[in-house]
Symmetry: C4
Subunit: 201 residues, 4 copies
């Protein structure tokens, strides 16, 4: 099986999971008073934040997954199943987002959400390690530094999720903001990588 087909399923499931996030926002119940629209919108500012956060996190995972498949040239049975379990946790995100939106002050809800992100991070690293180990599914000419960068990217995401789990028990309300570290750290990684590459030449 070529990687083309798994990529079509990946793009489809990401697109649907990202769009279904909108269902986590509370819609007005039938027969409500018109004046309640103010309360409806301003009362769920947390949920709008969670919607945007999960959308951006899924987009980050989608981009990282694509960056991996830019180098992965073939697939095999085990690799296919790592990806399918990865997708299972992508499809779970609307549920995790809804849970954390309804129970933003409950540690357990935050732990559930963070565990979902953690599983995505672990499976993403596993996907890359499996594919690049002995250049199993990538070109044999692929630069080892690029392989190392791909690993670090997934480790960063998984580490931030572990940090979020820890913080959930301290203050569930701030643990959400921890995820903003992911894009920042990814940037740092990329910047350092570019400097190392230019220093080498």
């Amino acid at each position: 099986m070529t990687t083309h087909r798994i990529e079509a399923l990946v793009d489809g499931i990401f697109a649907i999971a990202m769009t279904l996030l909108v269902l986590t926002l509370t819609l007005p119940a039938a027969g409500k008073e018109p004046t309640e629209v103010y309360g409806l919108l301003f009362g769920q500012i947390d949920k709008f934040f969670n919607y945007a956060l999960s959308f951006v996190l899924l987009a980050i995972f989608w981009v990282s997954h694509h960056q991996q498949f830019h180098f992965i040239k073939r697939t095999d049975g085990k690799h296919l199943w790592i990806n399918i379990f990865f997708l299972m946790f992508v499809a779970l995100m609307p549920f995790s987002t809804s849970l954390v939106g309804d129970y933003s002050e409950e540690p357990l809800a935050e732990v559930f959400f963070a565990s979902n992100i953690l599983m995505l991070g672990i499976l993403l690293v596993w996907n890359w390690v499996y594919a690049t180990n002995h250049h199993r599914l990538v070109d044999s000419s692929l630069d080892p530094r690029r392989i190392a960068l791909g690993k670090k990217r997934g480790v960063v995401t998984a580490s931030v999720a572990v940090l979020a789990i820890g913080l959930s028990f301290v203050d569930p309300r701030i643990s959400s903001f921890v995820y903003l570290l992911i894009p920042i750290l990814q940037r740092v990684l990329e910047y350092r990588n570019r400097r190392m590459t230019s220093a080498a030449t």
Copy 2:
């Protein structure tokens, strides 16, 4: 990353957001009397109008986005994220449509819907300005008049959204009809552009 992958995500999210609009229509509650079907259908004519309006507006944005990517040949990190934020507001449309359908007489609901359209317009202009600035992501031979036309298209959409926000405070019921200006003004732009092009040759 080539533009092919972002286009697949864009097509997916547009297709899903456009189809999820159907969930904004009120379905009969279980155990209702058969005779209530008349009331159910004729009582939500507003919602059918909103369904059609949002479907057409999303289609206009989809077409405009495609027209841009016809000329955009490559992408980079920042460009990718402009598109992801654009998609975040595409995926929000079923919520905004539902809100405006339930509270069609409330200025705040109309302002929320218009702001959604405004963000789509702004991000579409930004996408084009970023891509064409110094021909960053387009062919260096791309006609400056075409670049200007692309900007005007997005500005038209954003301006109509601003007009709709203003009108929401005057009469929320008429502000929806303002959006019909978008296809009309796009037509005028295209017609004027074609005349200019033929006058130049």
Copy 3:
């Protein structure tokens, strides 16, 4: 714009609308007695029939649309909008199916469903007539008999929908079965066409 992009949107919206049909089936309410599963399933046999009927009808429209685009080589602004309005009624199908499932004895519900099919039939014929008129968007060598066959296909669907609207006022329960005429008549058309083609050679 090439036809490739519109086809991607078409495939996406058809796939989603066909899958969302499943939401028209009644799920058990929380806290129901286990023994109610018999009633839940056998009490909604009508809905299962409607689910299968709408799925097959959408599949027929998807196949017909593809058969048209096999010959349509380019698109223009007006053609694009015929297709977008076609998709608007594709996306409406889960609502129509749900309505007819909840009010299977109400003429108005059947008329609404039949009108949805009628609009799909009309837009499909319009799409083909517009594309083939003076060979506007098809190869100039396209056989006139094939053009005529394409028109007849759409007219068959629209005619059956008109028949269903009429029958809705006589007996809403039987009007659903009328749609089974669509695949039968399509078959007859194809068979007659094949005989004509072989007689000509």
Copy 4:
């Protein structure tokens, strides 16, 4: 019609059905006490298991379907409709999963779920038998042993479903675990096939 288009619809419907499975998980009702999050999550461990089970089963069918289309080079009218009925039961999976999650102790619910899997297995075998009979839609050089392997794969799935139906009447709670036989037996088939192939050379 080439197989490319049917594959696009297949990928779309699988992606959506797999993502909609998340809707079978119970979301917190508005206005619930924060402390109820523990009960909400641990009380639906069955549903999480069902979510994962159905996701994996759909993935197995998606992989099997792709393996078939790797060899199927063309399609015809009847073949197209076998696939459309296959997709109808793919799209039904979120309903079956939800049913079995709500009534895990009811034989009828388990029978319904198993029948859904059985239909998928039967249609998958039919698809392969129809396509390979007299090499109708496959290359004439396709190895008969590969054709036989494809049949066995579908028969395994269908047989496990029949076993699950039987067990539903003995103990509905254990019948779900029977499906774990599917990936195990698929593995055995593949292993035996590889040994036979290497023995032949």
